[in-house]
């Protein structure tokens, strides 16, 4: 008998097959190379303390019924014995041994096989010294628009401490939400709920100092207060829009305000796209949504002048079709001339194919979208947070939307309109997604970290990124500098799919290596 591992089993008195017999089990275990001692707990459910005292400084293999697991017996025992997850294993001997086979001889034989097999696994396993990095349970949300507020409310139910930075810009800009095209008073209602929530503290952006990255998180000081520490920062900035051309035209922000005021809308409204440069499809989506809402509410005549129709966004083609069906007039142009003479607009242009001229006389409103982008403060925050963006610059909102919620830093998440135009449901889903990601990464106190997390052997990794592709939890990251895949230990759930799929066999699961699994199977 080896002396390394103690098997602590409930003797299964309640089983219909009769209790386990210590004498014969010990006799059989004397041949074992891994199990050094067997302790049978009679009445395990009532009084295990006395017998558990005999277990000191060894790895323990626990066995019992599912009830014992549900009752929390193993975690209590592990706590009182000071056992780390790598120093113990639990097996359900009732349903997978006693109830599975019909006669006592087979049961004993298989039980010994099981103990021996798991003993080998346990012998190879190591205590979890490198516990997963726990993000601090404080969250900073940058942005007080619909997505920022929604995320703050979602997180306030998660027993996290949440600070929200109210951005300098009024929560207005993009999409149809803030413009009051959604429910009227939506933003006001959410702001009120956030302000009255006891889990959320609101700070004005004017008081906010720079964001500093520290080990395992970030610090920010507000006003003259002490720096506050955060485990995660949620980046939910507003998009802002530059004023339209100085010819009396409105930009989209002004149009939204007008729609939000719910005053009667009538007359002839002309949108001019592709004026100084190509209008991005996201803005086109905004415009079509606004046109649709105006059409639904009134009998206004709507013209949309553009150079090209671009539909490179999900749902944009359908939006085009539905607005056209509603009677919105689309006109392609070249050589457009736009004048405002004492408040009267004159628009003239040519058909790009035939060259035939056209005129639109006396439109009541002309709307030209201004260049939209991140506000300067949001852009500098993005820069401090180290958000790597596809465009290489931080001030391009239309490259920011391509980012997933999860950025390249485990503590930085992006949500809401910064990732693209979304409707109310989209933003709510985004907030839920952020909460889910944070929940996985902020391991709460008292919860055992996952025992089998992946580790990558950098010498073997060929950077094929198979693991990045197959991981269901996005827990594998690309380390582009070193050309190696690396696990996000806080997100890894220990399923082992990456290790099985890795063609270079560069990934091993902690305490569940290929060799020990094979040895354990062999011992059955």
């Amino acid at each position: 008998m080896s002396d390394s591992i103690v098997a602590v089993l409930c003797d299964q008195q309640c089983s219909s097959k009769g209790p386990l017999q210590k004498t014969s089990l010990t006799k059989r275990l004397s041949q074992s190379s891994t199990i050094g001692k067997l302790i049978l707990l009679d009445k395990a459910c009532q009084d295990p303390e006395k017998k558990l005292k005999k277990v000191t400084g060894r790895k323990v293999l626990f066995g019992g019924c599912p009830y014992l697991e549900e009752s929390g017996f193993y975690s209590l025992a592990a706590e009182s014995l000071g056992l780390d997850p790598g120093e113990m294993l639990v097996t359900d001997v009732k349903s997978s041994i006693l109830d599975l086979y019909d006669n006592s001889e087979t049961i004993e034989e298989n039980l010994i096989g099981r103990l021996e097999s798991l003993g080998r696994l346990l012998a190879d396993s190591a205590p979890l010294k490198d516990r997963p990095v726990k993000l601090k349970r404080n969250v900073l949300i940058f942005g007080s628009g619909y997505s920022g507020l929604k995320t703050a409310l979602e997180l306030s139910g998660e027993k996290l401490s949440v600070d929200l930075v109210e951005t300098e810009e009024p929560p207005l800009a993009p999409g149809c939400l803030a413009a009051g095209l959604g429910s009227p008073g939506l933003i006001e209602e959410l702001t009120e709920r956030v302000r009255t929530s006891e889990h959320v503290a609101v700070f004005p952006q004017t008081q906010m100092g720079p964001i500093r990255s520290v080990e395992k998180g970030f610090t920010v000081s507000f006003g003259r207060g002490e720096p506050r520490e955060y485990g995660a920062v949620i980046f939910a900035p507003e998009r802002t829009e530059a004023p339209a051309e100085q010819i009396g035209a409105w930009n989209l922000t002004r149009l939204y305000e007008w729609i939000g005021e719910r005053r009667p809308i009538k007359g002839r409204i002309v949108f001019v796209l592709d004026r100084s440069s190509e209008t991005p499809p996201e803005v086109t989506q905004d415009i079509l949504t606004a046109a649709k809402v105006i059409k639904e509410r009134s009998h206004a005549e709507i013209w949309i002048l553009l150079k090209h129709i671009r539909v490179a966004l999900p749902g944009l083609q359908e939006l085009y079709d539905s607005t056209r069906e509603m009677g919105v007039i689309f006109v392609k142009y070249r050589n457009l001339r736009l004048h405002n003479e004492f408040g009267d607009f004159q628009i003239a242009g040519e058909d790009p194919q035939s060259g035939a001229p056209f005129r639109i006389d006396n439109p009541d409103r002309v709307i030209i979208p201004g260049t939209s982008g991140l506000s300067a403060s949001a852009a500098s925050a993005a820069e401090t947070l180290g958000l790597r963006l596809p465009g290489g610059r931080y001030t391009q909102p239309y490259s920011l939307w391509r980012l997933a919620n999860e950025s390249n830093h485990p503590g930085v998440l992006v949500c809401g309109s910064a990732r693209g135009n979304m409707d109310a449901e989209g933003v709510a889903a985004d907030a839920a997604s952020v909460v889910q990601t944070l929940r996985a990464r902020m391991v709460p106190e008292g919860i055992t970290p996952v025992e089998h997390i992946a580790s990558v052997d950098a010498d073997r990794c060929v950077f094929c990124l198979t693991c990045v592709r197959v991981c269901p939890y996005h827990a594998m990251e690309k380390n582009i500098e070193e050309r190696v895949a690396q696990p996000v230990t806080t997100a890894c759930q220990g399923c082992g799919i990456c290790a099985a799929e890795c063609p270079a066999e560069a990934i091993d699961m902690r305490n569940l290596s290929r060799e020990s699994v094979l040895a354990a199977m062999q011992a059955l």
Binding site: S95, L100, Q493, I497, A500, L512, M521, Q522, A523
Partner: protein, 130 residues
Amino acid sequence: MSDSILIVHCAEGAKKALARMTEEGHELPPQFKTFELPCTGSVNEVLLMENLQNGANGVVVLGCRRENCKHLDGNLKAERKVARVKRLLSEAGVEGKFVEMVYAAPDEGKRLHETLLGYLRAGEAEDKSK
């Protein structure tokens, strides 16, 4: 291990299905051995082949119901590997050894029992025919 059938099951749905099977009073013959992994997705071809080489008559990979894998599609990944090993076995002309993928939901105790016994019967029939 020799002449046995190894059931490699996941720690989620398939484990519950096995427990349900025993709760319903369905027992298995002694040839069956069970081994638990976090997810069947962590099975690979080498593991399956090594077990057959080490004397197991067959390996049954028992995963969650198709759409119900906790880890999204670990069970489907396992199925692909099982299919590959099956093809390798048939190409190499190996007889009397098998690998199978079985899906089981936690309420399918009886069906699971019948399926597992089916593999044993098939093996016995093959032996007699020789």
